[in-house]
Amino acid sequence: MDEKDIAVKIVHLKKKYRLGVIGGRTLGGEIQSWFAKKRGKEDPNVQIGRDAVDTNESFWALDDINLVIKKGERLGIIGRNGAGKSTLLKIFSRVTAPTEGKIYVDGRVSSMLEVGTGFHEELTGRENVYLNGAILGMTRAEIDRKIEDIIEFSECRRFIDTPVKRYSSGMTVKLAFAISAFLDSDILVMDEVLAVGDVKFQQKCLGKMSDVSQDEGKTVLYVSHNMETIRQLCDRCIVLDRGKLIYDGEVEEAISIYADIKRGDIASFTDLRKAKRYRSVRLVRPASFVSVEFLGRKENLFKNSETVSVRIIIESELEYKDAKIRFGYNDIYERKAASSFCVDIGDIGQGKNELVLDACFDGLVGGSYRTEMVLFISNDFGSVREIDIIPEAFYFEITEDNKQFEWNTMRWGAVRLKDMSCRSRK
């Protein structure tokens, strides 16, 4: 390929993040920790029983990405949550720096602000166009030239001299998008900004993006979870998974690979021998989960009304009296949704133990869940001792039987208690 046609060249790009608590510490605390370490004592600032799996471990959010993007290409970037999509865009728009590797860029890059990030409430729409345009790298003269087009596209002409705080959220989105769409940049970076706004305006935006790409030769990098918009806008697509680039090419192919990874997550059999353990049981544990399998299924796709059987294999070096198991369910927002217990498995013997439990997800609303598996014993006083904890044991998806309305997990929670019934009415 001719080097002249390249808009972006990414070479061995890596980004490392530290897990656990970063920043937000006080100077005093840091000195205290440092002293404790010097004297070989335990760090007094590490919380006990914290949820983070590890403290000083780091992980690669991006692991050796190599990519060449030609001028005028509209590249879609897809992958699960945490696959590294946003990190890639962040590095690209220079919000954060890479740990290793380089990106060569030819042309001016502009990243689309999330809805009105740079907007000031008290300023009018017009003033905000200038301010936001300048934040995105335009000069005042450039904005002067384009202001009419921007106002026209945003459909906000009537309110353009009104303070933005009086705008509806839809209008804010429209104005914000209009500014980015008319940027004089060569490379446009977008992170799911089109997820908001009404459908009609969304279509208008996608149309505009295709136009600028085809007519003006702008390069577009677009991250989304919405496969429809990817299909509409992009002519090439990459799939990221756990920081690695696993596919680069046709859009349809990429989408089907993405669907496969998502499905792989909910395979019914999970080997737990190498699964990541919670910190307190990582090094020493007399008993461990070996595997978990939902019987009679290929995938963990359940209806919330059915009861399913799950086989759990535990290997133990000791005997435990009256052991118990807990499944903790976390929703996609990483909130703890609910837990279910099995308290009648009885004693765990030395060697291999095979248990089959009947599980029921009654009450969990539709969606995908991460399950934490815990093996524990409790004494007569009711306090609990955990023997094995796997925070990320398996995933499953719940579908609901009869939906009268779309459940809003964000606001209503992930558990729908048994509906109330109306006993009398006057």
Binding site: G23, R25, L27, R94, T96, G101, T117, G118, G137, R140
Partner: protein, 280 residues
């Protein structure tokens, strides 16, 4: 043939790069930030821009009452109101520059997290918009000087007053310099943010805002003049009111200190801006 790239994004390097040319390219943004600060600061307030005047005026009145009348501190034979106002006008500019830039990273975290522009534009814009406040307050100060001259008070403007732009510039460089050092450090250590407000208060008492330089013993005077804000205040007052000391040598030292702090701040600032999104 090697291709010419517009930009190369790579891991942070340790070499010093102030990127001032980039800041210059974004000068329109600085201007718009200044405009934003100015137009939004007193929206939905009854007195509006009058607040620019009320603040130093009330501080001056309070100081005149407490330090001038009750404590009876020397004001170099100047009218007390003028003496305190002269110190306050410049001090307020310095402290505003410092406190408002010290919050740069935390206050703009959301914006900085979404889009790249030279971060240094924000503290520079702050310094300029505070300069407008200073200008208005300075005009008020001139009005008072005029009033007292007409009344026949012992006040005369000397040639040192011509140095005012340089005095203000040095104050701005120092204030912004300290502010960005703090803003860079607060991304990691939040306690500094708490220290700023009372640190600035203590700093004021270490400057000749309330006490006049000439009333101090020589040793104390030297110590106070080593504080890089002091010579500026002392010269400012000498120039416009015609009384007080003229510590030119110390002012030279202040310039060196101010520029050093500013450079240190810029270096820290540029290093932090590349990774602060991961730590804030």
């Amino acid at each position: 043939m090697a291709k010419k790239w517009t930009a190369i994004i790579e891991p942070p390097k340790k070499i010093v790069d102030l990127k001032l040319n980039e800041v210059w390219r974004y000068r329109d943004l600085i201007w718009l930030f200044v405009k934003r600060d100015f137009t939004t600061r007193y929206k939905q307030t009854i007195l509006g821009p009058l607040w620019f005047l009320i603040q130093p005026l009330f501080i001056t009145i309070a100081q005149t009452f407490i330090f001038g009348n009750v404590a009876g501190l020397s004001t170099d034979g100047l009218p007390q109101v003028l003496f305190y106002m002269g110190g306050n006008v410049l001090w307020l500019y310095f402290s505003t520059c410092l406190t408002s830039t010290s919050n740069t990273f935390r206050g703009n975290a959301r914006l900085f997290g979404k889009v790249y522009f030279p971060r240094l534009t924000t503290p520079i814009a702050t310094a300029i918009s505070s300069l407008i406040n200073f200008g208005i307050q300075f005009l008020m100060f001139l009005g008072f000087i005029l009033f007292f001259i007409i009344r026949g008070a012992n006040v005369h403007i000397t040639w040192i007053a011509a140095l005012t732009p340089l005095i203000v510039l040095q104050t701005a460089i120092l204030g912004v310099g300290c502010g960005i050092v703090i803003s860079a450090l607060t991304t990691k250590y939040r306690d500094l943010q708490v220290m700023v407000s009372f640190g600035v208060m203590i700093w004021m008492y270490l400057s000749p805002v309330i006490v006049s330089g000439s009333s101090l013993s020589e040793k104390t005077y030297v110590l106070m003049m080593l504080n890089p804000v002091s010579p500026a205040i002392e010269l400012f007052r000498s120039g416009w009111l015609g009384s007080g000391t003229t510590p030119f040598l110390f002012w030279g030292i202040s310039w060196v200190v101010s520029i050093a702090v500013f450079l240190l701040g810029t270096i820290l600032f540029n290093r932090i801006e590349k990774t602060f999104m991961d730590t804030v």
